[in-house]
Subunit: 211 residues, 2 copies
Amino acid sequence: MSVTLKSEETVVDRLVDMISSGELSRAERVREVEISERLGVSRIPIREAMGRLESQGVLEARERGGMNVKAFSAKQINEICRVRAALEPIAMRDSIPHLELQENRIALNAIIEELKWAVDHNRRGEVARADIAFHRFLIDLSGNDLIRKIWSGLELQLRIIFRLELYIPTNLDEVVPKHLVLKDMLLRGDVEGLDQTVSDHVWPEFRVAED
Amino acid sequence: MSVTLKSEETVVDRLVDMISSGELSRAERVREVEISERLGVSRIPIREAMGRLESQGVLEARERGGMNVKAFSAKQINEICRVRAALEPIAMRDSIPHLELQENRIALNAIIEELKWAVDHNRRGEVARADIAFHRFLIDLSGNDLIRKIWSGLELQLRIIFRLELYIPTNLDEVVPKHLVLKDMLLRGDVEGLDQTVSDHVWPEFRVAED
DNA sequence: TTGAGATATTTTGTATACAAATTTAAAAAA
DNA sequence: TTTTTTAAATTTGTATACAAAATATCTCAA
């Protein structure tokens, strides 16, 4: 089962996979030797990857030594939403000119189709995935490297949050129309509309009870 | 000169010091052994600290191996400003209730006094430091851990940028009044005013020519 | 049976070691 | 002199090793 890896980038990627797939439960400590044996690398590269993931807010340093998959409180999830609501409108605004290329419009439509398919088949996991893909696509398109970087951290956190079933879209039926509205605004270049809508869009997808 | 260190947190801190003080020139490669000898620790903790600082955008991975102190382009500086302009209003809004405690108002005034002193004595480095302290204070006060975390990364980057003399306040005389306006709005709870002003405040402090 | 204390085991954190890769320096050719 | 080739010396990346700390296990008493 252990696949030998080359660069550390890959170790980070594999760890992210293991975390967002739930292969690494957030209940138990992430053991360095275990990962090390599974990936066929010594502990050193594993530790470095874990350190990076900790700075990204995906792993959490334990009180005295060791790491955990991060557990998110309602407060933290709300904070993520607020940051998204503040940053995504900027990225979307910047992505507008790039949507003049037909190639990009096609790609965006393809993602919306995936979203549609997932909703029609009631596949919540796929809905979450396509939802994330939609937003990442526009952020990548924006060309804003800082927002992209911040977002890639948030995306990993969202993957964990979605996985843990805390993601409860108000109504699956609303997901596609909402994204279509965003798409229309983007294609029309309706900046004010975007500012208004993205905040609402990003936000109330979450119903957080605990904490 | 080598001071023995305990935890890695301290290694990160020492590295940050060395970077933001300019002790580590951004021209040359950051040599692991050199740092390791200077701090009296082996290369392993140094590498881990460097990895973390790379995720934070303070160090930069070289093309094939090794690290550099990050060099910021005009585009990147503008991106930092835009993100600040988007996130700080949120944090400031949340900090308002905490400013009802006299203790916090006193602390805020103290920072403004430092700012005033630095301006009066034409100490640009100190102005930058106090300016940063002002913003960090409010962000800390907000209680928003995510914004705090994002900001602590940006702060390190700002320290480097300031250090490299790219920070050219339009006019030193404007710095104190501008912060006083912000303070008044915070104490009055003028949320709309803040949204408007913080963006302008954070932004045009930079005159970026290159790139 | 339950709880405290002591002992054994695991797990982390850091040092040392070594091979692969990269950079620097030197030598040779144009 | 300038460029290209070759060789030496750094420097990184990862493995192994070991001590300190933390966790789990066991023993014995209440």
